[in-house]
């Protein structure tokens, strides 16, 4: 900071040197003019960073498709969702639900480490201190005043601690969730 915000006397010396050089050096004079008119910014004004605009980005589809393929492969997830369930009895639905539940649960257990956001039992009163993570805890209802907030835990929330999906070969088409099967 001491370089860019120098004291009065060094600024006076600089003004005299720059004024003299503007008289004798045409290029320097041109540069100085552009700088003076705001065409250039040589150094950002320290301490007052302008807030960066937060960009929205596209989530890459690969790992989502990969997870969907695993859910289909182990738990017939897509088959289940794509069927018209109105035509079936609850007993039929139950049989299929077991396949889906068992398989999808296996996928979730094998590839993701899922844990609750809050360890407390649902229904208990808890207090959120100032600076709590608003992404992990959502406030609802009478949201007024200043933290600490006290309220009832309605849902414990879920958070993925770790995710390890299979490595995918270059050129592998992840859009094929389940290949068609043709028995010869």
């Amino acid at each position: 900071m001491s370089d860019s915000k120098s004291n009065f006397f060094s600024r006076l010396a600089l003004a005299l040197r720059a004024g003299w050089r503007a008289l004798v050096d045409g290029d320097f004079a041109g540069d100085l003019q552009r700088l003076e008119q705001g065409g250039w910014t040589l150094s950002a004004p320290a301490g007052v960073e302008p807030p960066k605009p937060i960009a929205l980005r596209d989530a890459p589809p690969d790992s989502a498709l990969q997870l969907l393929a695993l859910l289909q492969q182990e738990g017939r997830f897509v088959d289940f969702l794509e069927e018209n369930v109105t035509a079936y009895s609850d007993a039929d639905m139950g049989g299929a639900a077991r396949v889906v539940h068992e398989g999808c649960r296996k996928v979730i257990r094998d590839y993701l480490q899922i844990e609750p956001v809050r360890e407390e039992a649902e229904g208990v009163r808890l207090t959120l201190p100032a600076g709590f993570d608003a992404a992990a805890v959502r406030l609802t209802g009478n949201v007024v005043g200043q933290p600490p907030f006290t309220g009832t835990l309605m849902h414990r929330g879920w958070r993925v601690r770790q995710m390890t999906l299979p490595k995918v070969a270059e050129g592998h088409d992840v859009r094929v969730l389940a290949p068609a099967e043709v028995e010869l």
Partner: protein, 613 residues
């Protein structure tokens, strides 16, 4: 890079392979730094995952079946075959291209193990592989997986311990060592799997094992893997004030394991469905086997559950209407699994015998009798004298004992994760012991049932370098060659055969037997074959001992051995008298050599693995 950094244990199992390592530099005495090496493998086309186990399956895809990029492995190769999880999945749908149980084929005396015979059911156009090649592919995959994760310590430069069933015969051991050598693993020793399990128990006890066993204990190891049952007896002795372990006996090779049990349950449920008018195809049977395995685990782990629903998903995309629902009941598990495979029998029970002729058929010689306790009873009875020559052991075996009395039992193999099966086996054994007035055997617990063999093998690699107690024992059989008797031949009768002992019981690694006084004749330029025998009970025969007669229970015929004398400077057809000398190599294989009366040259005698015998 010549410094050996790790001792690596490889369990080349019938159904799964596991690899474990001990960091030699970081380990000191009982403080052993060890871990399981993850094995990247294809789990779906184009998807690679790391798993602790590599299923021992090899799939030979059609050229149009998998694109090259869908079978690329992390080390950049995309071989024309698939090994591991994806091989098993694809093989479930296309069994004609699946090689399974290659290890059991490797010790199948009825077939040529170097010949491309697998898969047996494959049509003409499939390029088959030999049991030896299949084993090489598994080992090659493990090696590549290791090397990719340890570029600074390649597997070929590490101390590798490869496990084999205790019941593997010399030919199968040699083929296993050959498969390892073919993928560059020359720094190799073989270790019997039940011993590896016991090493893991020692490691897992963290030094406490000395308090859990005492001198004159006899430890029975029951190793029930996915495809084979393997028994060993290990005695606890004392030398210079410290405990020593001696492996005194191993059992026969029994093709009976956890996979048979899952299949048996699935067939029982299939029969039930068939009675209700529902026929299952092969694809559905696979789904049913999978469902039954999960249901069985629930039933065996929770005594309050009476039945577990089993659903077989439809093959097409219509899941809801097409799914079959049935259930597995406690009664079915008890009847088929507990009573079918672990019945309460008495100590005099023996397994139903298999006719030797049955081996000539092209198929694996699965155990005819599924009742594991009968095999165990036969083993313990045959080995009743196993500890006779050890000091202080005879006193504890009462006169008139009909079988050897173990004092402790170590169970290994995924089957015993089901507590009721472990308790049943221990209960049956303790009933036998009680009937002969012996105290019940203690349970040695605390091992990792799926991974113990690989971890114990890695630990053994460490122990060999002076890090802890070793199990002694040497070869578990005495070996004999068949020589024609000197008796005058009787017309119309085969000349009687005598068995000449060339390798005594208990030969240690890296030792050589004496030369027998008897000579046999080799014909120059022609292969000469000898009948070959082994005995797991004749512990006192020395080199040169000749048996004139024996019972099948005492001496078992193995595959023939064959020697060819190169013609070189001799006349073809000339008969050269030689003596046969046995040695156990550092690797742990049996080597036979023909030593002529004069000259320093010797010739290797090969085990015949062509299955013509």
């Amino acid at each position: 890079m010549s410094e050996v950094r790790y001792a690596v244990g490889i369990d080349l199992g019938t159904t799964h392979c596991v690899m474990a390592a001990v960091d030699l530099a970081a380990s000191d005495r009982d403080a052993v730094v060890e871990r399981i090496a993850a094995i990247p493998q294809l789990t779906a086309p184009g998807a690679v995952e790391e798993r602790l186990m590599l299923p021992s399956f090899l799939y030979l895809p059609h050229p149009d079946e998998l694109r090259v990029e869908d079978r690329v492995l992390p080390w950049g190769e995309s071989p024309p075959f698939v090994v591991g999880e994806l091989a098993r999945t694809m093989g479930g749908r296309t069994p004609i291209r699946l090689v399974a149980s290659a290890k059991s084929w490797l010790c199948h005396p009825g077939v040529d193990r170097r010949a491309a015979i697998l898969p047996v059911e494959a049509p003409e156009e499939v390029a088959r592989v030999s049991p030896l090649q299949a084993s090489m592919h598994y080992l090659g995959h493990l090696r590549a997986a290791w090397d990719q994760q340890h570029p600074e310590a390649l597997l070929t430069e590490q101390e590798v311990v490869l496990t084999v069933p205790a019941s593997f015969d010399p030919a199968a051991r040699e083929l296993t060592a050959e498969a390892a050598a073919a993928v560059g693993l020359h720094h190799l020793v073989l270790l019997e799997e039940p011993q590896a399990a016991l090493y893991h128990w020692i490691l897992a006890s963290g030094g406490e094992w000395r308090k859990q066993v005492r001198v004159s204990d006899i430890i029975l190891v029951v190793d029930l893997g996915g495809g084979t049952a393997d028994f060993s007896l290990i005695a606890v002795t004392e030398r210079d004030g410290s405990l020593e372990l001696v492996r005194v006996a191993v059992g026969d090779h029994i093709l009976l394991g956890g996979d048979n049990m899952d299949l048996a349950l699935a067939h029982a449920v299939r029969t039930k469905l068939a009675e209700q008018g529902t026929q299952l195809d092969a694809w559905q049977l696979q789904g049913l086997t999978h469902g039954c395995r999960n249901a069985k685990e629930i039933l065996l782990s929770d005594a309050r559950v009476e039945s577990v629903p089993v659903v077989v998903p439809s093959r097409g995309s219509r899941l809801i209407g097409g799914t079959l629902r049935t259930e597995l009941t406690r009664d079915e598990v008890t009847r088929n699994l507990v009573e079918g495979f672990f019945p309460k029998v008495d100590a005099a029970a023996r397994p139903a015998a298999r006719a030797r002729a049955a081996l000539t058929k092209l198929g694996l010689p699965y155990a005819q009798d599924a009742a594991m306790p009968r095999h165990l009873a036969a083993f313990l009875a045959r080995q009743v004298d196993a500890t006779r020559d050890l000091e202080g052991f005879m006193a504890q075996l009462p006169t008139g004992a009909t079988f050897l009395h173990p004092t402790a039992v170590l169970f290994n193999g995924g089957v015993f994760k089901a507590e009721p099966l472990l308790e049943r086996t221990l209960g049956v054994l303790n009933d036998w012991l009680a009937a002969e007035g012996a105290p019940p055997a203690r349970l040695l617990a605390g091992i990792d049932l799926d991974l113990a063999v690989a971890r114990g093998a890695a630990y053994y690699g460490y122990v060999r370098r002076g890090g802890g107690v070793r199990i002694r024992g040497g070869t578990a059989k005495a070996y004999y060659v068949g020589v024609e008797s000197a008796m005058p031949a009787v017309p119309g009768l085969e000349p009687p055969i005598e068995a000449l002992c060339i390798a005594p019981f208990g030969m240690e690694e890296g030792t050589q037997a004496q030369l027998p006084p008897q000579e046999v004749g080799l014909v120059v330029g022609e292969p000469v074959r000898f009948r070959f025998f082994g005995s797991s009970v004749r512990r006192t025969d020395q080199v040169g001992t000749v048996l004139e007669q024996w019972t099948p229970d005492e001496v078992e015929e193995l595959e023939e051995i064959e020697a060819t004398l190169p013609a070189e400077d001799r006349q073809p057809g000339e008969v050269v008298p030689v003596r046969l000398q046995a040695a156990v190599t550092e690797v742990g294989t049996l080597r036979l050599e023909a030593v002529p009366r004069i000259g320093a040259e010797t010739w290797k005698v090969e085990f015949d693995v062509r299955g013509e015998g």
